[in-house]
Amino acid sequence: MQALYAQLLVGLINGSFYALLSLGLAVIFGMLNIINFAHGALYMMGAFCAYFLLNLAGIGYWWALIIAPIVVGIFGMILERTMLQWLAGLDHLYGLLLTFGIALIVQGVFQNYFGSSGLPYAIPDYPQIGDWRGLQGGINLGFMFLPIYRGWVVIFSLVVCLATWFLIEKTQLGAYLRAATENPTLVRAFGINVPRMITLTYGLGVGLAALAGVLSAPINQVRPLMGADLIIVVFAVVVIGGMGSIMGSIITGFALGVIEGLTKYFYPEASNTVVFVLMVLVLLVKPTGLTGRAA
């Protein structure tokens, strides 16, 4: 049973990354009508950003959790201003091709300097309160041993996902955002700066990817290609869940992570492929995806 719980936890962690990334993809797609193929590369940049902060500037994990998403988010906004904005009005597919090119550039540059092997990033050992050494070590829950860092990733991702959902569905800014998704011309006529909102939305989506990158750095090591295969799985998640609803992306992301974790326990040979197989099944039964509108 220990192994089952351990795999469930791994599944939940992968699920948090799926949720954070597919959430960003959905938000970006809503505003820019672009499927951001560079999402995996930007996730990787988030992890590298944390690595650089620690090794070049001595800035630790907690600050990296704030700084990396901002830095990568700004990089994303520069991409949007200099390149993506020129694609408005063209076929969706050009956005996919452009961001695929950006992903190749970013991943290629990092591979040149860092090869393909992983760089270690330690779990933070501060603040130290009593017996607690930051997020290191674990707790015995009786039925399983829970590494604190892994528990932290799941809970923190869930909080960030729900905060994003709240921002978009329940606040004034989110209302503007949803309105601009439905009808940008009309929203502009009301005096709202839609191009700036588009840039900020892209920055937000990219920031979420970078945040996922920082969270995964201590677990998966920092590698130039860490996002390349992940993004394809996230695409399958997006196809399964549809991009119509924010909550749908979050739930689908976590659920698929858990299913993947269970597969690792019961039938490990299929753990790489289970998400894709599920995608095929969903397409056969309900082509529009579980929560999505027809596209």
């Binding site: 797609f29 499927i35 390149m83 020129w86 694609l87 009005g89 063209l90 076929d91 969706h92 597919l93 050009y94 996919l96 091709l97 452009l98 695929f100 090119g101 950006i102 992903a103 190749l104 550039i105 970013v106 991943q107 290629g108 540059v109 591979q111 040149n112 295969d229 394809i232 799985v233 695409f235 399958a236 997006v238 196809v239 040979e269 790489n272 492929t273 894709f276 197989v277 995608m279 095929v280 397409l283 056969l284 082509p287 529009t288 596209a295």
Partner: protein, 322 residues
């Protein structure tokens, strides 16, 4: 939304004549290659990719469907042919048939699944399906995982042509490429091709005119996948191996890049694009990962400034369709 290829001109007798002239020119030039001393393996490899890119272009340029998983047909046909040649010891023509049949069967299944969604979702589904297949091939015993199938015997085609001789192999590959190219050309200019174009332009209207668009898209997908498989089978004889590289998503990306550079929806564009990209890889092989970066830069540059591609720009300049 503007269509991917906004200036395809209607097929006129003049356009047909232009295209036949360019085709004859291309066939003659390619036929003369062995006499020039150009390294034949480079041209053979480029021809395989040119056919692959043409097959891919049939789907995107005329059906409006961007497949991000065409490497799966290349790799599947490659594995089938290689396995048949090496393990079963069949003759080359049977080996090619096995490979093409494998790719055709795969395209029926994947086509049935992926055409259920349109546009951007179609691309993501094809990418995910090819990744699924990549993991299957990674674990399946007959592909020999990371090592691939090595040292494939080339044999005698139809019992006469010795494929181990580079010149003979070159003309066989060239004949295969030209036949595939003509088949695609014929398809594009058939009533079927016209319906396909109308689906690309306005699917709702095509449906309202009574066309069962799903069937047309599925047929185009199967045709494209099968021809891509044919290219994969030919490539086995050139490279004498079949490996995971051919099924990886980076390969699918390269196919897209070739077609984009040459010109989406142009007849000769994918051929030009394939030669450009293969030549680039050949000359920049020493630069390691910078090749990936350069490919990325070409992607970005093409999408931002050069959406018609090389052939598309030429055709636009002369107001012809090529």
């Amino acid at each position: 939304m503007s269509a991917l290829t906004d200036d395809t001109l209607p097929v006129t007798p003049r356009a047909m004549r232009d295209e036949m002239i360019v085709f004859a020119l291309m066939a003659v030039l390619l036929g003369l290659v062995p006499l020039t001393g150009i390294y034949p393996f480079f041209v053979m490899q480029a021809l395989c990719f040119a056919l692959l890119a043409c097959a891919f272009n049939l789907l995107i340029g005329y059906g409006g469907l961007l497949s991000f998983g065409h490497a799966m047909f290349l790799g599947t046909a490659g594995y089938c042919t290689a396995h048949a040649l090496k393990v079963w010891g069949v003759t080359p023509e049977v080996g090619i048939l096995v490979g093409v049949a494998g790719a055709a069967a795969l395209s029926v299944v994947t086509g049935f699944i992926s055409i259920r969604r349109q546009g951007i979702y179609f691309s993501m589904i094809t990418l995910a399906l090819s990744q699924l297949l990549f993991f299957i091939y990674l674990q399946a015993p007959f592909t020999h995982g990371e090592d691939g199938i090595q040292g494939i015997p080339q044999g005698y085609l139809f019992g006469i042509f010795n494929l181990a001789k580079p010149t003979v192999l070159y003309y066989v590959v060239l004949a295969g490429f030209l036949a595939g190219f003509l088949l695609i050309y014929r398809t594009i200019n058939s009533p079927f091709g016209e319906v396909l174009k109308s689906i690309r332009e306005n699917e709702q209207r095509a449906i309202s005119l009574g066309y069962k668009t799903d069937q047309y898209k599925l047929l185009a997908f199967i045709l494209s996948g099968t021809l891509a498989g044919f290219a994969g089978s030919l490539k086995v004889f050139v490279a004498q191996n079949a490996s995971l590289t051919d099924v990886h998503w980076t390969m699918s990306g390269e196919i897209v890049l070739m077609t984009l550079v040459g010109g989406l929806g142009t007849i000769f564009g994918p051929v030009v694009g394939a030669f450009v990209i293969i030549a680039m890889q050949q000359y920049l092989a020493g630069f390691g990962q910078w090749v990936t970066v350069i490919q990325g830069v070409i992607f970005v540059a093409c999408v931002l400034t050069f959406r018609r591609g090389v052939v598309g720009e030429i055709a636009h300049f002369f107001r012809r369709s090529l």
